[in-house]
Symmetry: C2
Subunit: 206 residues, 2 copies
């Protein structure tokens, strides 16, 4: 792509570094900003730089936060005795959107994946164990993606928690609502039969 | 979407204002920037704000430029006697990518479209007429999108240029290379028959 302006080229190249944004999309976005009022573009730039400079990670759960303790950990209405362990921030946002969970979170920052070179030491696992020792919660719920790495991570952490007086659970796995049995993979279907529920539970939880 | 950080929410909202970027994509981009080194994010923000603050429009052709006269208009190797009239900057980039055009451009900044409320006065048409009067180029080539608005714009400008000693042409319209006759629309096919070329022209231009 040939540009008649170095400033334009620079801005396009910066946008094109973002994931999933190619040169053509980058150009479209930059031309949009070129037509936008100057102070709005300055707002855009400032919001992003300020976010990167000033954002903190909650000292307790490693969620992003504007203060030392995030708004969930510092909320007296959230059950501090219930910790939901997730892989990353996106999972927190997904669970918060359900409005069904009133406990707190613990963000691991990834899952154990030797193939990607990610071992337990790179994750916030030791901090979780310490947190459980200190705060003595009633229950730890694992909400990790249902795959080999997720299961490995659960197994590893659960081993570390064995000696502690805390109930360890995992989110239910089974056929998704609206899914069809005949298209479910064998593993999911097999597990959903093994972990079958009494119908009264099912009806009550609807 | 629920956020635990106002800074994060702000950055996501700013990204989501860009065309074609929804909340989920915005979050993905912001989380990417959160993992990026701080000075790189600062570069990103600066490049965009600087572009918007400092970019100029060429006084001659209305192309974006770092200086008063763009790099194409000030290039002595480009034929100043040949002006290609285009709708916008994207068209300049598309034509420049072909490396087949060695003249200069004139960017209208849009096309006449009464339905969208765009009349001749909002476009750089008067400047084009003045430029042709002053510089007396040999030829003006219209490279506008082949639709009703494009044709209207060509007709309008051509009327204004009638009294001036300049050759006025338009880019060829016909069946695109690699296209198939049976799927071409009737208008294109009909025009391509009316405007048929001698085979020696075709062979020489390959």
């Amino acid at each position: 792509m040939q540009f008649s302006s170095g400033l334009l080229e620079n801005a396009v190249n910066e946008f094109a570094k973002l994931p999933g944004i190619g040169k053509k999309t980058a150009l479209r976005l930059v031309l949009h900003l070129l037509k936008t009022e100057q102070d709005k573009v300055e707002h855009f730039g400032e919001a992003i730089v300020k976010m990167r400079q000033e954002i903190k990670f909650c000292q307790k759960c490693f969620n992003v936060s504007d203060t030392d303790l995030c708004s969930i950990c510092s909320n007296p209405l959230r059950k501090q005795q219930l910790i939901c362990v997730v892989e990353n921030l996106r999972d927190v946002i997904a669970i918060e959107s359900t409005q069904q969970f009133s406990g707190t979170y613990h963000i691991l920052g990834g899952i154990i994946s030797p193939l990607d070179g990610i071992g337990p030491d790179q994750l916030n696992i030791e901090a979780l164990v310490q947190r459980i020792k200190n705060d003595q919660p009633d229950e730890v719920i694992f909400a990790l993606n249902p795959n080999i790495q997720g299961d490995t991570t659960i197994y590893y952490i659960q081993k570390k928690l064995q000696s502690l007086p805390v109930k360890v659970t995992t989110i239910a796995r089974g056929i998704a609502f609206g899914g069809e049995l005949e298209y479910a993979d064998e593993m999911t279907l097999a597990r959903s039969i093994t972990n079958r529920l009494p119908v009264e539970n099912y009806v009550n939880n609807r």
